[in-house]
Symmetry: C2
Subunit: 266 residues, 2 copies
Amino acid sequence: MAKKTTTIPTILVTNDDGITAPGIKALIEVAQQFGKVIVVAPDSPQSGMGHAITIGKPLRLHEVHIYPGVEAYQCSGTPVDCVKLATDILFKGGHPTLCISGINHGSNASINVIYSGTMSAAMEASIEGIPSIGFSLLNYDFDADFTTAQFVAKQIIEKLLGQKKIPHLLYNVNIPDLPISHLKGIKYCRQAKAKWDENFVVRDDPHNKKYYWLTGEFVNLDKGKDTDIYALENGYASIVPVQYDLTAYKNFDKQKQFWDSKQKSK
Amino acid sequence: MAKKTTTIPTILVTNDDGITAPGIKALIEVAQQFGKVIVVAPDSPQSGMGHAITIGKPLRLHEVHIYPGVEAYQCSGTPVDCVKLATDILFKGGHPTLCISGINHGSNASINVIYSGTMSAAMEASIEGIPSIGFSLLNYDFDADFTTAQFVAKQIIEKLLGQKKIPHLLYNVNIPDLPISHLKGIKYCRQAKAKWDENFVVRDDPHNKKYYWLTGEFVNLDKGKDTDIYALENGYASIVPVQYDLTAYKNFDKQKQFWDSKQKSK
C-alpha cells in the first residue's frame, strides 16, 4: 500500500467520457486542491469500453493545453490504454500518489462496474499498485451539475491522503443527483446484485438492411440494505471497495471436491 | 442454477478471436457431441476487448454458413455484444443450457481474465443466468494444435451437463500447450495474483509522428501452489470459478469502521 509522503501528491486524472467532458473538468478542479495534476484521457468518448486494451494497432498520445496550468494528454485508445501509457511513458514506472477517474456522466454502481471504462481505468492503476478511485454521478446529461460530486470527491480524497497508509487500492464511488443540502452522507457498501435486461431496437437502415441498437433496463436483484444501490436510492453517496481477483471463493472448497473427484476420460 | 433437463442441451458458442478462428471451430466440434449448437461470434478479431459493449452505434448480425449443419451468426460488435444479441434476439429470453467461449488462442489465466473478450462473453452469459465456461489454450498461434484443449473441454462439459444442478455459473479454463499424453489432469484453482509490465514500443510513423504500441511481460506475483499459473506450469489444465461481484470482502468490516468514522466537511 502507498505510504503517505510529505512531498506534494501527484494525481493522475483520467476518465472514459473523453478529455473534453465536463465531468473530468470537475474532477481536475478537485484534484488541483490536493497536488500536482497530470491528465491522460481518451480523445473521444469511450463509455462502455470495460477493460478493453488496444493490441492490434498503435496508439497516439498528444499533449493538449485545454486546462490552464495542468499537464494534459489526449490518447487515441481506451481508458485502460490511457493508464498504461501514463504509467509506462509519462511516469516511467514511478507512480503517482493517486489515480482518480471520472467524474463519469452516469452511474457505475452495481453491475455497471464491469462495463465501465471509468472503473476499468481505475482498476488498471490499482493493478499497478496505485491507489485509485472512480467517481460517477447519477446523471447522464452533458451539462449535469457536478457540485455535489465534487463535494464528495473532495471529502474522500482528503480522507485517503490523510492516512499514513491508504487502506485499500481501489474504490468505486457513486454520487446521487442531489443538491449538497439533500445529500445524507457517504455510505460504505457492497456491490448490489443486478443485471441489465437487454431490449435491442431492431430497425431497417436506409439500404433496407437490419441493424440492432442496444437499449436496456437496469434490474436490481438485491434486497440488501448494505448495497450501493440502496445507499444511492436513499440519498447517500456509495463507496465500494473493489478487487480484481475474480475467483469465486464462496463454496470454493465444496466445489473443489466436485472437481477433484475422479475425472473420466472417454 | 440451471436444472438438468432430459431434452437435448442447447449450447451457445462464442469467442473473441472471430468466427473464422480455428479455436472456435475446435470448440464447435466438441459442442456438437453434446447438443444443438448455435454460434454467435464477432466478424473480426476482438482480443483484449474485455467487457466492452457497443452503445453509440448500431450492430449487425448476419447468418453465415461456414460450419456444416450449425446455425451460426457473425456480429459486428464485441464478444459481450454477441452474447447480448444472442440472448435477446435469437433466444428471445429463453436460455441455452450452456454457453461456451473460445477456444482462445492464448492464455486467459490469472489477471488476463479481466482483459479477455473470451471470458467477458462467458461472464455476460453468466449474468444472464446461463452456465458458462471460457476455454483458452496457451498457444497464440493461428494454427495451434487444439487436440488437448478439445479433450479437456469435452471432459469438463460432460461433467457439468451430467449434474442435476450445475454447481456454479462461470468458469475460466486454461489448457497448457502439451500433447494429451503429457497432460497431468485438470486442477481446480484460484486466480494467481499477477500483472503485465508494460513496455510500449515508441516509433515515428512515415509522417514523422510518434506512435506507441503496447507490448509487455507477464509477471507472476504469486508463489501459491493453488493458483492457475502454478497448475499450468506443472502440466495441468486449470479451472477457476469466476464471479462478477467485484466487492473486496477481505477486511471489509475493518474498512467499514474507517469509512463510517466522522466525515469532515470543509
